[in-house]
Amino acid sequence: MEHIRTPKVENVRLVDRVSPKKAALGTLYLTATHVIFVENSPDTRKETWILHSQISTIEKQATTATGCPLLIRCKNFQIIQLIIPQERDCHDVYISLIRLARPVKYEELYCFSFNPMLDKEEREQGWVLIDLSEEYKRMGLPNHHWQLSDVNRDYRASICRSSQPLSGFSARCLEDEQMLQAIRKANPGSDFVYVVDTRPKLNAMANRAAGKGYENEDNYSNIKFQFIGIENIHVMRNSLQKMLEVCELKSPSMSDFLWGLENSGWLRHIKAIMDAGIFIAKAVSEEGASVLVHCSDGWDRTAQVCSVASLLLDPHYRTLKGFMVLIEKDWISFGHKFNHRYGNLDGDPKEISPVIDQFIECVWQLMEQFPCAFEFNERFLIHIQHHIYSCQFGNFLCNSQKERRELKIQERTYSLWAHLWKNRADYLNPLFRADHSQTQGTLHLPTAPCNFMYKFWSGMYNRFEKGMQPRQSVTDYLMAVKEETQQLEEELEALEERLEKIQKVQLNCTKVKSKQSEPSKHSGFSTSDNSIANTPQDYSGNTKSFPSRSPSQGDEDSALILTQDNLKSSDPDLSANSDQESGVEDLSCRSPSGGEHAPSEDSGKDRDSDEAVFLTA
């Protein structure tokens, strides 16, 4: 608390990013863990909560007549602009947030104060939900070929990982050569092992000068060496930065957007990671060869590539629990440096890089291609991404298992996996069917998938701009139908039971008392109420002759707002926080039998928003 220079500032405005003239007036609070903005408007008292650990950058902009603007960019791609009336207050908030967003001790992180009101036993159970030794057992390990290592279940062929060899220009290591030989021998189906170096060849060669490098095919018997050029963390960081700049553009033209997307290189990098994953999956499944994967350190590109390959190969990883296992195994336990990469504690900004974000995007790209193959939905990925940065749960803290053990993470914090598992109903993909041919075995992609397979993921990078997202969610619709069907089936069952009882009574009694069952209350299933009442955006552009009195845009109050309840349930997605103002209600919070409300397009609030769009001449 000592870092908070001013705990409360009044008359602050929260600017609507889509229509800057529309700003909500309210009070800004700084707490030990959150920035909270509470709107003055008595109807809504809308609250916006931002975790300090989500804050990526804070920018103080030039003071204007209305006050001093403060721009907060978050790691979950939310952008918040505040206008603080007094320069002094703004400075205090700025200085406080700079410090709060860069904690120096793990103990300052939210997970050490986050208390979801679970007892000790529940917490402990949460931590054992994902158990890696169980996972190795599932893979059939250890067996007589393998001690505990990393392998695929259905094939003798395996995927192994390491860091680069310290070969320099001529150094050898007999033990290393023998180990690779052992990997080959463990797979009687193939007489060679692929060694995949995920770096561009140039980078690997440069490493030689530093006494590192890559395997010399002459020294290792029966290896096939392959470079797959995935760029390093610095290139990736800059690429994301550039793409986010494109996302931030105010009403960009199509050319601005596509040009910026190309220029960022982001999709090229995503494709490179996918290509590597596909290569490995094909080597294992089609050639039956084992693969040793490494990059420089073996914890970034290697983790990305191995987990993409695992997803392609093993349907188990495409289930909810299996995906948690995959992250636990390939990322957490193998020493991916979460703290450095995601900047949880104040550290070297050059270590920060969206490594796991890229993996999560690869999963989404695959989900787009194979809509029935994954048990989980897009929301699941988005929530995991959020919590990697939120530090609300202990899973992703620190840089290694060792550090986690020393900090006694399991005794002092809660596990995200238990939380996600408890709410798994929100994360299910209604199209998934375990017995479907597509969901079994390896996912087959063309060796070199065409470029337009890779799409910009607006559901992630523009997810706080609800107006840009599809207004109806097929996933939520189908889940609601499923739920409704289930309810009806249960009701039917209950009624049948009752009928049976009544019939028995009838048999026993000569006098029959007719007992009417209450008519079913289900009023049919409907999504058409307010689920899609939306409002127009600014379609007039810069047309001068158009009488828009303000350059106001659509009145999508992009859902910046985390309600306190949401926060307590630690739900990072704002889906439950449907945007009442614009009438864009999220389907997920609709009761399955939502037919009771009369369809009404012109809610009072909706009318307000009209005003903003069209003003009288």
Binding site: E262, Q438, N451, S458, Q472, Y477, S526
Partner: protein, 527 residues
């Protein structure tokens, strides 16, 4: 003319067919007057049954005596035939070339096609203007049907029956027609029942350089305004282009003469610019280099998505004027047969729930495209692969369908039809056994006696068995106005529509994405 004259070699054995994602097939190639057929003669199945009119371009190659013909279709497919024998190959190629570019419409397949199904409902009578008029005549008495164009004399590209303000008589209409491009006087396109506002469309006013005016024209469009209300004129050209049009006798409505109207210019591209955009897009999709930067750069350079954004934005603006501003609008560009129709029809998709049903969408195509005189014959004569570019070819209708797909993607539960319906319409607009999309306007269709001599597409589509393929299982009638986002992030490439061609992908992707998920969706909805 006998087709036989054009077919020197009607049959070749041992031809090998290569198609993306199918194994190569060896079989017998047959040419008929309208089809190219390849049969492997196993189980009597035809491997390929292609309309000559679907062929956009062909390439020949020879290696020794083995000839190869690469056929590029208007629906973007690319097929390869390996034909043994140089002479046979040359004969086949020249026949295909001749048969795919027949001059006379009456030689086209629809005039020869005999349906194998029982016609339950004759599609030629499914959407009569009188019936459409009845849909809103209960809500308003301010409009009437006019038969002034009965003989197509007043406006050759209009249908015989149009809807006009009740207070304007036929004599006035004739005068207005002389003041509008192509005789296209302002007519009713859409009546918004919620507030009585209307969309009208027309050709550009022929003001010329000396600012000619026409009192009847002013009276006509003013008749649609309520007392004290203003309306909007949406010109689908930039102000600059509209001004230049005056030199050629065209022009735009001067404020001084139309004081109750506010003009908005929303530029939408036309003609060869659109055609080139499509050519570039399809080329980008066919690019085999697998280089992501190159793909994005080519996609950007094609400008296809820019056109999508432009058209959708104009349509949203039109809908906004009607529904939010409570103002009537008049839309036109130059002729009023292309961008004008894109805007009027998309605005209706946004505003009117009926146009999002299968039947309603068919009625919309009939009303706003066929009867409104979109020159399908000219615009769809060639597609993305053709070398001989004519200036009147343009994928105007495909862009419209793409825009509908974009809205459908954003509102997946609000449309009764699915993506396959849109793809089907695209395919039939370019090559079909049905007469619906033949001719450039009602007048030409009348002269061709299409109703008597050909079958309507709607007769086939509206059979229950066919409809089920085009039905969206997620549909739930939604009576609201739906406002799509036009941000670039919200407008992805319509892969299945525009990238049908891609050898590596589309076949697999379509079956994977559409078939599996649709069957899964159905499994959930119909347990």
């Amino acid at each position: 003319m006998e087709f036989a004259e054009l077919i020197k070699t009607p049959r070749v054995d041992n031809v090998v067919l290569h198609r993306p994602f199918y194994p190569a097939v060896e079989g017998t190639l047959c040419l008929t007057g309208h089809h190219l057929i390849l049969s492997s003669r196993q189980d009597n199945t035809e491997e390929l049954w292609l309309l000559h009119s679907n062929i956009d371009a062909i390439d020949k190659r020879f290696v020794g005596s083995l000839g190869t013909i690469i056929i590029k279709c208007k629906d973007f497919r690319i097929i390869q035939l390996d034909i043994p024998g140089m002479e046979e190959c040359l004969n086949i190629a020249s026949s295909i070339e001749a048969l795919s570019t027949l001059d006379s419409i009456t030689l086209m397949y629809p005039f020869f096609y005999r349906p194998m199904f029982e016609v339950i409902e004759d599609g030629w009578h499914s959407f009569l203007p009188e019936q459409e008029f009845e849909l809103y005549s209960s809500a308003t008495s301010e409009w009437r049907l006019s038969y002034v164009n009965k003989e197509f004399a007043v406006c050759p590209s209009y249908p015989p029956i149009v809807t006009v303000p009740k207070s304007i008589d036929d004599e006035a209409l004739r005068k207005v027609a002389t003041f509008r491009h192509g005789g296209r006087f302002p007519v009713l396109s859409y009546y918004h029942k919620k507030n009585g506002m209307v969309i009208m469309r027309s050709g550009q006013p022929l003001t010329g350089t000396n600012g000619r005016r026409c009192k009847e024209d002013e009276k006509l469009i003013n008749a649609t305004l309520r007392a004290g209300k203003r309306g909007y004129i949406i010109d689908t050209r930039s102000l600059n282009v509209a001004q230049q049009a005056r030199a050629k006798g065209g022009g735009f409505e001067q404020e001084a003469h139309y004081p109750q109207w506010r003009r908005i210019h929303k530029s939408i591209e036309r003609y060869h610019i659109l055609q080139e955009s499509l050519i570039k897009l399809v080329e980008a999709c066919n690019d085999q280099t697998h280089n992501m930067d190159r793909w994005l750069s080519k996609l950007e350079a094609s400008n296809w998505l820019t056109h999508i954004k432009e058209i959708l934005t104009a349509a949203c603006l039109a809908a906004q004027c009607i529904d939010r501003e409570g103002a009537s609008i008049l839309i036109h560009g130059t002729e009023g047969t292309d961008s004008t129709l894109q805007v009027t029809s998309l605005a209706q998709i946004i505003l009117e729930p009926r146009s999002r049903t299968i039947r309603g969408f068919e009625a919309l195509i009939e009303r706003e495209w066929l009867q409104a005189g979109h020159p399908f014959q000219q615009r769809c004569a060639q597609s993305a692969y053709c070398n001989t570019k004519q200036k009147w070819e343009a994928p105007v209708f495909l862009l419209f369908l793409d825009c509908v797909w974009q809205i459908l993607r954003q509102f997946p539960c609000s449309f009764e039809f699915n993506e396959n319906f849109l793809i089907m319409l695209f395919e039939h607009a370019y090559a079909s056994q049905f007469g619906t999309f033949l001719g450039n306007n009602e007048s030409e269709r009348c002269k061709l006696k299409l109703q008597q001599k050909t079958m309507s597409l709607w007769s086939w589509v509206n059979q229950p068995g066919e409809l089920s393929k085009f039905t969206n299982p997620l549909f739930e009638a939604n009576n609201l106005v739906i406002w799509p986002s036009v941000a670039p992030q919200s407008l992805p490439l319509w892969e299945d529509g525009v990238s049908l061609c891609h050898p590596d992908w589309s076949a697999v992707a379509r079956s994977r994405l559409t078939a599996t998920s649709v069957s899964q969706v159905q499994a959930i909805l119909l347990p």
